[in-house]
Symmetry: C2
Subunit: 656 residues, 2 copies
C-alpha cells in the first residue's frame, strides 16, 4: 500500500455523488468529472439496442435453462443438502455464472418490472443463500471434506472470483430498489469473511482471476462500507508481488508480474487484465489516488494504441486468452473474447466518468457494436465466445443441444463448458441504458446514441428529459427533443465520435423559431440555452470508408478494412460468386466503398492461381495469377456475420 | 484393419533388404525404392554437420546431467526400490527422455566407439531394467498404489508413448552391434506385454501421443518379430475411431478424428501427427499396403504445400502445439517445435526410401538446416523448443541453471519442464550419417552433402567408397572422389536441390583424363561408368535470392525472405544502426541480395513514423512516415540467430 498522494486528476475536484434513491447505476464513483445515470433513467426503444434489449429476455431465459441443465444451479442445492462433493457438475468457477445471471436479471428488473422474472430471481437467490456457510463462505467447489481446502488454490480455484460476481449481482439488486434483499445480505456476509481473512494482517495473496476487487469496491460503495473498498485496495496493490505461483505463461497471466502502479500496458489474460484495471480505477477514485487512476489510464491508452483489434476486441492469443505483444494482432487467430470486451467496457466507462474524455466513449462504442453485439445469435440461443476477424474455412453449425467444448467454436454455440460469455452479454445488455449519458454540474452529456428517452436530474435537482429519435447506426442523424429542462442555463454535450472523420453538423431548432447550424469535428460539441420544445439534430457523417492499420500490425499488411459509423464490415464468401473463398478476393482501394440497398459495397476482383491448384512448395517462384472481371461485392456488418450459415469471412481485405 | 490391397507403389517391386550385420540404420524397410545405409557406413568430418556431431558429445553430456538433476533418471531407482510414488519428479512422460538419451548414445557409440560413454549407457540401462515389472510393464508414473491404474488415462498418460521411445532406443542398440543387449531384452518384454494387452481381441484404444507405433514397427523389423509390426498396424488403423475422449481442441489433437487412410492433411499436434505418419509408412511398407503409403504421401505433400514454414518448421499454434489451417503460418507465433521437425524428418526419410523422389530429401535438408540446426546453442548447453520466425521484443537470456517453464522461451534455454527437444536433437545428430545416402540395385544415391566418406555396398556385394570434400552450404561446390568402385557399371545419383533454381553443373574428371561437363536442373542427376580415381564435381548455384510466399499466406503479405542454398537468413536488430528494431526496416526488393564477408547483405532503409511516436488508435489515418537513407544491412543465417545476445529478429522483411 502507498499513502494517498497529492491529488491532480479531475477526480479530486468533483463533489460526491448525491445520495438520492439510486436509479440503477452499475458504478457510482465517489468523485470524478461525470456522474452516471441509472438503468431507470434511460429508456431505449426499438432500433439497434432496443431490439437487443428485447432479445435479452430470451437470452436470460436461455442462460437459466442451460445453467439448470448443466447442474450449475443444482450445485447450490447439493451444498445446502450437505451432499457435496458428490454430484457436483461444472468447472471450478461455475458458481460465478448464476451470479452473473442474477446480475442480469436484477438490471432487467430495474429497467422494467416483471413479476414472473422477479419470482425466478428470488428462487435462485434462495437456493444460493441456503448454500452459504455460517461464517459467510460460499462456494460449491471448495472447503468440504473431499474437496480442496478453502483458499488452497488461489491460482486456479476462482473462489474469490466467484464471490466477486456475487457482490456485483448484489450491487445490481441493491441499486434497483432492493437494498435489503437476501442477495445483498448474502454478499455482505461473504465480503465480511473476505475482509477478515485477507485483511491487512491476513493472508497476503490475491485471486488468480481479478474480480473480487470489482465486487468489493462497488459493494462498499453501494452499502456505504469503507472496509470493502479498503479490502479491494489491498487486493489491487498486492498484484505484482508474486504471491501466486509462476506458471507456464508467466505471472503476467494473472497480472502478478508487475504492480499495478508500475505497469505500462495491459498484459496477460485479457479478461483478468481488464477486470483488475477497472477495479484499480474504482479504488483510485474512491481513495482520491490520482496516481493510481493515471497509471491505469496510461496503460489503457497504450493498450488501445497497440494491443486492440479494429473491432475493439482484445486478446490475440488463444493459448492463454491473453494479450500479445504490441501490434501482434493476427485476424485469423484473434481471440477477442466476448468477456474481454465486457471488461474493456468496464474500464472505459470508469475512465470516462473520471476524466470525461470522449476517447473512452469512442472505445466503449466500438466494442459494443463490434464485439458485444457480435456475440449473440439473432434468436438469442447462440453465442460467440471468441470473435475471430478471419475465418479461412467455413465452420460447422453448432448443435443447439450440445455445450461446446471449444472457445473457438466456428459458429455461435448454445453453451460452453466455460460459459462466462453468455451471462456477460446478458448483464451488459440489461444495464446498457446506464452507459448512454451522464450529468455534471453544467448539464447532460450524451455518449451513446440510442432511440429513447433520458430522464436526468442536474445536481441542483432540476430535471432534464430528452427524447431521442434515430436509426443510428444505420443512419447518422440523431434528433434530440428537449421535453423538460430547467429555466436556468444548462448544457447539452454530445460526442462526435472519433470515427466521424467526415465531420458532423449540429442543427438547433429553438422554440422561438431560431435555427442555428454549425459544423463539428470529432470530440465534444456543446449546445446551451436549450428550453423545452427545442430540437437538436446531430448529423454524423457515416459514409463508409477504408481504414488501414499501422504498419507494425504485420498481420494485415497490404490490406484495408471497411468501417461505416461505429460498425466494422466484413466480407463473407456467401456474397461472392460461385464457390469462391474470401481468400480469392482482392479489393480495389481506389474505388471508395458505397452504400447500396442498405449494405456497404466494395469493388474488386477474384484473383486465383492460373493453374487452379497449389504449389508443391508455397515459397517457390511467384504463381501466375488470373484476375477476374471487376465486380461489386456487398459486405456485411461484422456483428451480423455467419447469420446466413457457414461461410469464410474476413475483415481485412487484401488490395490488388 | 483392411486386407492388403492390390499393390501399385514402388514398395512392391523392391527386393527385401539383405540380412548382413546392420551398420546402424534407424529405419530398415522390408521393401522400397531405396535402401538405407547406417551410421557406420558414413563418416562426417568437419564442416557444418561434422562440427555439430562433435558438439553432440557435449549435448549428450548436458542432457544426462539435467535428467539426473531433475530426477528423471532417479525415478527408475525409486521404482526399483518400490518406494514410488513418493519422490517421483517430472511430468507424466518424463520416462521417455532417458530413453531418447539412450537412443542418442547408442547411435553415437555405433558411430564411434567410446568406452566411457558405453559404461554410462550400460549404467542407465541397468537402472531402467531394474524398474521393469515382472510382466514387462515399465513406467515410473502409473500402475502402483497411489498412482493411476495402468492404461487408465490413455489420452494424457503417455505410457505407450514412453515405451515406444524405449523400443526406438533398443533398435538403435540392436542395430549397432548389440542385438542381445539388456535394453533390447527390456524393450522386447514391454512389446510382448503391449501385444498381449492391445492385440486384436484386446483393448481397442490408442495412446494419446503416437510413438508406440514407430517403436513397435522398427523393433519388429530389428528382431524379426512380425507380431510387433502387426500390433503397430493395429494402433495405426485405430486412429480416427474416436476411442479417445473428445477434448477442447478436438480429437484431431491426437489424430483420433479421421482414420489415417481417409485423412487429407496432417492436423492437430504436429509431433503426434508426424510420428503417426512415419509409423503408417512403416506399416504400409511392411504390409505391402500401397494404399496406406500413398495416403500418407498425399497428406505429407499437402502439408508441405500449405502448412509448413519456409524453414521446414511445422505447427503454427502455441495453444495445442498444432498445425493451423491451410496457409495459416504467422511468423511471430510460429511454434515450429524442434520435435515436430524431427518427426517431419522421420516421415520424409521413410517416404524417400519408399518412393525415391528428391522432394522428400529437399524437405529433409530444409528442416535439418533451419530447425534442427537452429535449436542447439553453439556451446551445446541451450536449446530452442519453439522456433519463431519473428521476435518483436528482445528476449531475456536464460539462466543456465534453471529449467524453463515455457516452450516459448525467448532465447535458447538449458532445459525445460517438458524437455523432449534436446534429446530429439541429440538422437538426430548422432544418427545423421544414416540419412546422407542410399543404395539401390543400380548404385548409390547421395541425398545430403557433407564432407566425409560413404562406404556403401551394392546389392551384389561390391563395395563403393566415395570421399566428399565440401564446405557446403557455405559454398555450393561438392567434390566426390571415387575411392572404391566395382568393375561393372554402376550409377552415382546426386540430388540437385529444389532451391537450386539457378541450376547446377556436374563435372566428371575420369582417370583416363576425360573431362565431361553438363548442366543440371533441380531433381536428380546421374553419372555412371565411374571407376576408382574418378572425381565428380557438383556445383550448385548458391546465389542468395529473395523468396515470396503464396498469396494465401496472409501473415507475410508484402514481405520477402532471403534464402541462400538450403539456409534461410534473417535480420537481427543487432545489425541495424542505433537502437532500431527490425520493425523499422524496409527492404528494397529491386536490389538482389549479395554476399559480403561471408554474409548475405540486403539493401533497404529505416522507416519510422515522422512523429516518432504511436497513434492513439492504430487504425486511424495513415501515419506520415520518414524514410532514412539507403543502407546495406547484413543478415544472419537463421540457425545462428540470437547467438549474439537478445535482439529483435525477422525472417520475412517488409518491402517498401
Amino acid at each position: 500500500m502507498t499513502t494517498t498522494p497529492p491529488i491532480a486528476s479531475p477526480i479530486a475536484s468533483a463533489s460526491p455523488t448525491t445520495a438520492r434513491l439510486d436509479p440503477g447505476r452499475p458504478v457510482v464513483p465517489g468523485a470524478g468529472t461525470l456522474r452516471p445515470l441509472g438503468v431507470g433513467d434511460v429508456t431505449i426503444v426499438d432500433g439497434f439496442w432496443g431490439a437487443r434489449q428485447e432479445l435479452n429476455r430470451t437470452i436470460i431465459d436461455h442462460i437459466e435453462h442451460w445453467q439448470e441443465r448443466e447442474g450449475w444451479l443444482a450445485n447450490f442445492d447439493l451444498a445446502a443438502a450437505g451432499t457435496l462433493p458428490a454430484g457436483r457438475r461444472g468447472r471450478e468457477f461455475s458458481d460465478s455464472e448464476p451470479y452473473k445471471l442474477l446480475e442480469a436479471m436484477a438490471w432487467e428488473l430495474g429497467r422494467r418490472p416483471d413479476a414472473a422474472l422477479a419470482a425466478r430471481f428470488d428462487a435462485i437467490v434462495a437456493r444460493i443463500a441456503a448454500a452459504q456457510d455460517p461464517d459467510g463462505y460460499l462456494s460449491t467447489r471448495w472447503g468440504r471434506p473431499g474437496q480442496g481446502a478453502r483458499w488452497s488454490d488461489l491460482e486456479w480455484g476462482h473462489e474469490l472470483y466467484c464471490m466477486g460476481h456475487l457482490m456485483q449481482a448484489a450491487v445490481a439488486r441493491a441499486r434497483t430498489g432492493h437494498p435489503k434483499d437476501l442477495l445483498v445480505t448474502v454478499a455482505g456476509r461473504a465480503a465480511d469473511l473476505i475482509c477478515a481473512t485477507f485483511g491487512p494482517a491476513g493472508d497476503q495473496r490475491i485471486c488468480g482471476h481479478a474480480e473480487i476487487e470489482l465486487g468489493l469496491a462497488e459493494l462498499g460503495r453501494a452499502l456505504g462500507e469503507p472496509r470493502y473498498i479498503e479490502q479491494a485496495a489491498l487486493f489491487v496493490e498486492r498484484h505484482g508481488q508474486g504471491t501466486l505461483a509462476d506458471i507456464e505463461w508467466g505471472r503476467s497471466y494473472y497480472q502478478d508480474d508487475v504492480p499495478v502502479r508500475a505497469a505500462t500496458v495491459f498484459r496477460g489474460h485479457a479478461v483478468r487484465a481488464n477486470y483488475l484495471a477497472a477495479s484499480a480505477v474504482d479504488v483510485g477514485v474512491e481513495q482520491r489516488d490520482a496516481d493510481l487512476v493515471d497509471a491505469v489510464t496510461r496503460q489503457y491508452d497504450r493498450t488501445i494504441a497497440a494491443r486492440t483489434y479494429l473491432t475493439g476486441g482484445q486478446g490475440s492469443r488463444h493459448q492463454d486468452e491473453g494479450f500479445g505483444e504490441d501490434y501482434q494482432l493476427p485476424p485469423d487467430r484473434a481471440y477477442s473474447e466476448t468477456c474481454a470486451a465486457v471488461g474493456s467496457q468496464m474500464v472505459s466507462w470508469r475512465l470516462l466518468l473520471a476524466h470525461g474524455s470522449p476517447r473512452f466513449a469512442d472505445n466503449l462504442e466500438r466494442t459494443l457494436y463490434n464485439v458485444v453485439a457480435t456475440s449473440p445469435a439473432p434468436d438469442g440461443h447462440g453465442f460467440y465466445y471468441a470473435n475471430t476477424l478471419h475465418r479461412r474455412v467455413p465452420g460447422a453449425a453448432a448443435d443447439p443441444n450440445t455445450a461446446s467444448k471449444r472457445a473457438d467454436s466456428s459458429l455461435r454455440a448454445p453453451w460452453f463448458d466455460v460459459s462466462c460469455c453468455p451471462p456477460n452479454v446478458a448483464r451488459t445488455l440489461a444495464s446498457l441504458g446506464a452507459y448512454v449519458a451522464t450529468v455534471d454540474d453544467d448539464g447532460v452529456q450524451v455518449h451513446q446514441y440510442v432511440a429513447g428517452e433520458i430522464r436526468a436530474e442536474l445536481p441542483d435537482g432540476s430535471p432534464v428529459v430528452l427524447e431521442f429519435g434515430t436509426d443510428y447506426p444505420a443512419e447518422g442523424r440523431i434528433r434530440i427533443r428537449v421535453a423538460r429542462a430547467p429555466k436556468h442555463n444548462w448544457t447539452l454535450t454530445m460526442r462526435v465520435p472519433g470515427w466521424c472523420v467526415g465531420g458532423a453538423t449540429v442543427t438547433v431548432d429553438r422554440p422561438d423559431g431560431r435555427i442555428e447550424q454549425r459544423a463539428a469535428e470529432p470530440g465534444l460539441v456543446v449546445v446551451d440555452h436549450l428550453r423545452p420544445g427545442a430540437e437538436v439534430i446531430l448529423d454524423l457523417d457515416v459514409t463508409p470508408r477504408f481504414v488501414v492499420a499501422d504498419e507494425r500490425v504485420d498481420a494485415v499488411r497490404g490490406c484495408v478494412a471497411v468501417q461505416r459509423g461505429p460498425e466494422v464490415w466484413c466480407l463473407e464468401s456467401v456474397d461472392l460468386p460461385g464457390d469462391a473463398s474470401v481468400a480469392d478476393f482482392r479489393v480495389d482501394p481506389g474505388v471508395a466503398p458505397r452504400m447500396a440497398d442498405g449494405r456497404v459495397v466494395v469493388r474488386g476482383r477474384l484473383r486465383t492461381r492460373a493453374d487452379g491448384g497449389d504449389a508443391a512448395w508455397p515459397y517457390a517462384a511467384p504463381a501466375v495469377m488470373r484476375d477476374g472481371e471487376e465486380i461489386d461485392v456487398p459486405l456485411v456488418a461484422y456483428h451480423d456475420w455467419a447469420n446466413r450459415g457457414p461461410s469464410t469471412m474476413r475483415v481485412w481485405l487484401p488490395v490488388g
